[in-house]
């Protein structure tokens, strides 16, 4: 499946919203106006918000992840568990850097194993 760049999400949302008010659109999606504003500003939403926005846009979340959500492969994505203190909608580059840092931290242990799980998308 062709993969959409996550950076295109903000433009897609903004285009779909058109002249509609921010508050009205946010209510339609089921998120707060502040969250919608951050997404339009290029911030990465959390998984639940991402799902709502994709549903509103009428596209499969897997299109951004590069796989078919109905038949995901374990090699497409990695899922790890961690606590974060930070913005709920971080800068995309910072989110990616934190993700990489977690993967390297997990490698610090000789027998570490990353849990593969695509079920949360």
């Amino acid at each position: 499946m062709a993969r959409r760049a996550l950076s295109s999400l903000s433009k897609m949302v903004n285009t779909r919203r058109g002249d509609k008010k921010l508050r009205e659109t946010a209510q339609e999606i089921g998120i707060s106006p502040a969250t919608l504003m951050r997404i339009e500003g290029g911030r990465i939403p959390d998984v639940a918000t991402f799902g709502k926005v994709c549903h509103w846009l009428g596209i499969e979340p897997g299109e951004f992840l590069g796989f078919d959500v109905k038949t995901p492969s374990a090699t497409d994505c990695t899922s790890v568990s961690a606590h974060f203190k930070g913005d709920s909608t971080p800068d995309p580059d910072t989110a990616s850097a934190l993700g990489k840092m977690i993967l390297f931290a997990l490698k610090m242990q000789p027998h570490s194993k990353t849990v593969l799980d695509n079920g949360d998308i």
Binding site: C77, K85, T94, A95
Partner: protein, 192 residues
Amino acid sequence: MATFDRGFKSWSERTSTNIRNELGLAPHDCLNVFRLAEFLEVTVLTPNDIPGLPEEVLDQLARKDPFGWHAVSLSLPDGQMLLIYNPKKSDGRKASDIAHELAHIVLEHKPSTVILSQDGSFAMRTYDQKQEDEANWLAWSLLLPREALIRAMRRGTSIDETANLYGVSPQLVKYRLSVTGVSVQLARIRKR
């Protein structure tokens, strides 16, 4: 405004006292977050301590967006807990960030699920506002329990002195004085 389950705030104060007791501290003593981490058997690191971390990752976290993240904690497959904090913050903020992560561990919160693409270009996570609010409240109760605030105010210790004494920011001292009701409580006593 965060809402908590009934009794959570009182439980946080009791937990703060109990942990200090375990560490041989009085309820009003300063709690060093690194000592708390050691007590909870959590290894505390900065990104620079992680072997092989690519330069572009360090560059993003330390230089391009040094204030865009606070701390991360994760459980390794062997059960060991790791806490990675942002060393670029002020000492007060670092203490708050570390205490927040340790609070998640004390509260046995379910960690966020972080979804990463294999090429590392994509990362997204789940986010639980209730858990974040609880971790904040417990963290701040650990750093600045009511006992400490009452003692400081009774002694006439200034906001800045109190912050310095407990290794936190003056903003946190003001916030805790307000949300714990200590300011109002002491003002009423003084009026009598």
